[in-house]
């Protein structure tokens, strides 16, 4: 198969030329995949509290705390995938550092949770978290102030990743860094952040990160009820961000974004401010990833610098690719599916897991360029 150098190809480095990639789903309001997604989310929102709180623990249908956490985790990953699909699938910006925004949101939430531990830590210091006492901090670093207030922490969850995305995107898009170059420098970004957060001097707990959280807003994090509520919030957040993303891509601005993906130079020549479209989409995507991270931390109970590892960002890209790029709901489905496979295989056949994951990437790229959603759609068309 030889590379075709068409004029279209020249302007859109490494992107698909086929406009059919986008889910048009039969026009506006005909978002059948999205309807399915929201229906499944609603079903989970109803079933989980029922199976956990009402069904007795002895029953085979009882959902354990572990199960709730697992579902919550998958959904947070799904949200990260959603954020990534928005910029990759619709705007052609392949970020290999999106887990950085996820981790930053997580760290902001983790800082709030650390402050909530109070005197219940190992050292019992009312102000300083354990690791600071351990590292001989005398007082709280300036950037830790305010994190004992939940609204402030919530604001930071969105602000910090958003600001980073803004600064990074402003530089990158203004100087028209595109394609592979952009991917590589996003990777450099998350790698640099990982190295920085591994340092003890940063004041973020070094390689241990934050863990051993006690409660959130006064509710015990270890109780099933809190877990169920956290999961419901996550479901709401996924549904809300999905709807928001869908609205964005279906708006007039969304059409411009698509145009940028397919023919960036042409869109620019038509007079659209390409850089600011890309920038705001990137910032929005960064914020969504940050919120996903903030929801992830209280449920999983730990955040450490390995969340910044470049491989995490690459895995997120894979989820999107497996699910189906440029569909939004496909990204969420891919994230849940791949992570479910991961949980199952690492438990059942730890040796096989990496083989399976590797094979999935290769096979999906070769044979399912539109992911599982593409496969399903092909089926339904034939039928």
């Amino acid at each position: 198969m030889e590379r075709q150098v068409t004029s279209e190809n020249k302007q859109t480095p490494g992107l698909w030329k086929r406009t059919t990639l986008v889910d048009r789903g039969g026009g506006r309001g005909g978002d059948s995949g999205g309807t399915w997604l929201l229906a499944v989310l609603a079903a989970v929102a109803v079933l989980v509290p029922l199976l956990n709180q009402v069904v007795p623990a002895t029953s085979a249908f009882h959902l354990s705390a572990f199960g709730i956490t697992l579902i919550g985790k998958y959904l947070c990953y799904g949200m990260l995938a959603l954020a990534l699909d928005l910029i990759w699938g619709y705007c052609g910006i392949l970020s290999l550092g999106h887990a950085a925004f996820f981790a930053l949101g997580g760290y902001a939430m983790g800082m709030y949770l650390m402050r909530q531990i109070g005197t219940r830590g190992v050292y019992g210091d009312p102000v300083l978290p354990d690791f600071m006492v351990f590292l001989n901090y005398k007082s709280l670093p300036w950037f830790w102030h305010g994190f004992n207030h939940f609204p402030f922490a919530l604001a930071m969850v969105a602000l910090v990743p958003g600001l980073l995305a803004f600064v990074f995107g402003w530089f990158a898009f203004r100087s028209r860094v595109t394609g592979v170059y952009l991917s590589i420098i996003t990777q450099a970004l998350t790698y640099a952040l990982m190295l920085a957060f591994f340092r003890n001097d940063m004041g973020f707990g070094g390689n241990n990160g934050f863990t051993d959280f006690k409660d959130i807003l006064g509710f015990d994090l270890h109780s099933d009820r809190t877990r169920v509520v956290l999961l419901l919030i996550t479901i709401l957040a996924v549904a809300a961000t999905y709807t928001a993303c869908r609205k964005i891509v279906e708006s007039r601005a969304g059409r411009v974004v698509l145009a940028i993906r397919d023919a960036e130079s042409r869109t620019r020549f038509l007079g659209y401010p390409v850089d600011s479209f890309k920038l705001w989409l990137f910032v929005f995507s960064g914020i969504v990833a940050g919120i996903a991270g903030a929801l992830y931390v209280p449920q999983v109970g730990i955040i450490n610098p390995s969340e910044f590892a470049p491989i995490n960002s690459i895995e997120a890209v894979i989820w999107v690719a497996v699910g189906g790029r440029g569909t939004l709901y496909g990204a969420i489905a891919g994230a849940v599916l791949v992570n479910y496979l991961k949980t199952w295989l690492t438990g059942a056949f730890p040796e096989v897991w990496l083989f399976a994951l590797g094979a999935i990437f290769v096979l999906v790229t070769l044979f399912l360029p539109r992911g599982i959603i593409g496969l399903l759609r092909l089926r339904s068309k034939k039928a």
Partner: protein, 549 residues
């Protein structure tokens, strides 16, 4: 102190010297006398021990130096059961491994509780040091003599100076002569004669040794009562000048050393990136499995070494072509089965090759286990080349620079001077036209990818000498290699060379001020900012091909 060889090295040197000189000794009367004198050490007081040590020295027995060095390092023991005296290899180990004091051959081992150490004190140790130095001064090995002079110059007294003067008269090796002159000049600094002190300073000026510098700087200080340590103003001026000169040279050499470190780190970066520069730069394939191909090269080195455990020195040389072939074949296989379906879609090659990288990692883990494998560094690569007192150049750093240069030149040679190189360049410049001219582009693609992968394997051989060989080896280098290629400009080998070298240099220049991790973070941030300024790297591709990626 770090200049002094450890006891073990003393011993090896001595053993080496002895092997030729003393073939198969039986216990002669001389040995017996030596042993009985040695035996007296068990009961003697410290002052008696000093006289015993001197008597041992006069005995002229070949193992005098080994025994006295051992005593000096508190490595001389006697066995409680039969009172026999032994040298032990290391006093920290338990059981102690014993060495016979006569033959200096291994004599089994014994539990630490069965042995008693022969103690020393400060006075005794200084006597021992002199005696050992005396012995070492007449050693046939110039490096042993140099070390002895250095050791003596720490505490110079009348007899030591006399000894050195005497040696200077017969010494032929220029390095040792210089060392002795420095030591004598240091001694002269203490003397009453102002003229002699001035001469001494003139001699010392040419040294770059830290100790000499400190000694000279002492002359500039003041005593407690405000008077100068050195009363002669001329001498003070000369000393100040000498200190400034020495500082100047030391700064120069440390700058040179940083430069050298930067070059060697840069060479590593170039080496890991140059294979990628071919697959990524020339072919436009984002090969995330590049790191794993390096890992395969490193494991090939391990396998080759395991196959020829008696020839570690050559095994590295054998491993280089072996690694090239192994990684190259895997590369060709990858190209034929996966990558050829993805040309023109670089971001998708990223996904597929990432999958391949996971499979390769797990394969290695299944075959060799997840633990790190140890690859032995051959003797000719360890140690260092000592240029002067301020500059040590380790061989492995030097070799990596040379190796990178060779690999780089070979790649250039292949690309510019061979038929396949011509084909590769033609296909990368204009695929359709190349095919029209009758070039088998598919075959060229496979060869190009194989070449890039093979070079990655060769880089892996070098990495096996620098880092742990484990399944994660590739992951820790893949990002660096991408940075280098992107910094240099995709599709430009020279860009990768200059990019890698300058990144290594900047990293090493920052490291003394910021520490290793911060330096790396700065380099990454600098790279991100640099890409903003030049979105296509240092040497962007020009013309139609550039638009394509």
């Amino acid at each position: 102190m770090k200049r002094l060889p450890t006891g073990g090295q003393w011993l090896t040197m001595l053993l080496l010297a002895l092997v030729g000189v003393v073939p198969g000794r039986a216990q002669s009367p001389k040995d017996a006398a030596f042993l009985s004198t040695l035996g007296e050490l068990r009961e003697a007081s410290y002052s008696d021990k000093a006289t015993i040590a001197e008597r041992l020295g006069q005995s002229g027995h070949p193992s005098v130096r080994a025994v006295l060095t051992a005593l000096l390092d508190s490595r001389l023991y006697y066995r409680n059961s039969d009172q026999k005296i032994f040298i032990v290899k290391s006093a920290d180990a338990d059981p102690l491994s014993l060495i016979d004091p006569l033959s200096l051959k291994s004599a089994g081992s014994a539990a630490a509780s069965d042995m008693t150490q022969i103690g020393t004190n400060n006075g005794l140790r200084s006597v021992l040091r002199m005696t050992v130095a005396h012995y070492s001064l007449s050693s046939p090995d110039a490096s042993v003599r140099t070390d002895a002079v250095r050791e003596m110059s720490r505490s110079l007294d009348e007899p030591a100076v006399a000894l050195l003067r005497q040696r200077l008269g017969v010494e032929t090796n220029s390095g040792v002569r210089k060392e002795i002159a420095t030591a004598l000049a240091l001694a002269a600094l203490e003397g009453p004669d102002g003229k002699a002190r001035l001469d001494a300073i003139a001699t010392l000026k040419s040294s770059v040794d830290q100790d000499v510098r400190n000694r000279l700087a002492l002359l500039l200080g003041k005593n407690g009562d405000g008077s100068f340590v050195e009363s002669d103003e001329n001498v003070r001026k000369a000393a100040a000048g000498a200190v400034a000169t020495i500082d100047h040279w030391r700064t120069f050499y440390s700058g040179f050393e940083t430069l050298f470190f930067g070059l060697s780190l840069g060479s590593v970066l170039v080496l890991i990136a140059v294979g990628l520069a071919i697959t990524f730069g020339v072919m436009g394939v984002i090969n995330m499995a590049h790191g794993e191909l390096m890992m395969l090269g490193a494991y090939t080195t391990y396998v080759v070494q395991s196959a020829m455990p008696d020839h570690i020195g050559i095994s590295i040389v054998v491993a280089i072509p072996a690694a090239f072939i192994v990684a190259g074949l895997v590369g060709v296989l990858m190209e034929r089965t996966i990558i050829r379906f993805l040309y023109g879609r670089p971001l998708e090659t990223l996904l597929a090759t990432f999958g391949v990288s996971l499979i390769l990692q797990q394969t290695v883990r299944s075959i060799f286990s997840a633990n790190n494998r140890s690859v032995v560094t051959p003797d000719w690569m360890s140690g260092s080349l000592r240029l002067n007192d301020a500059l040590d150049i380790t061989w492995n750093r030097l070799y990596i620079i040379i190796f990178t240069m060779i690999v780089f030149s070979l790649i250039l040679l292949v690309l510019k001077r061979t038929r396949i190189g011509l084909d590769i360049r033609a296909v990368s410049q204009n695929r359709a036209m190349a095919r029209a001219m009758g070039i088998r582009t598919q075959w060229v693609d496979a060869m190009t990818f194989g070449l890039g992968s093979g070079v990655a394997g060769v880089a892996g051989v070098a990495l096996s000498q620098l880092t742990n060989v484990g399944p994660n080896l590739g992951q820790s280098y893949i990002i660096d290699s991408f940075m280098v290629v992107v910094f240099g400009g995709v599709g430009n080998l020279w860009g990768s060379l200059i990019g890698g070298m300058s990144m290594g240099m900047v990293n090493e220049l920052l490291e003394p001020y910021a520490g290793a991790v911060l330096a790396k973070i700065f380099v990454l941030i600098a790279l991100i900012l640099f890409i903003q300024a030049r979105p296509r790297g240092l040497f962007p591709q020009k013309g139609r091909a550039a638009e394509d990626r």
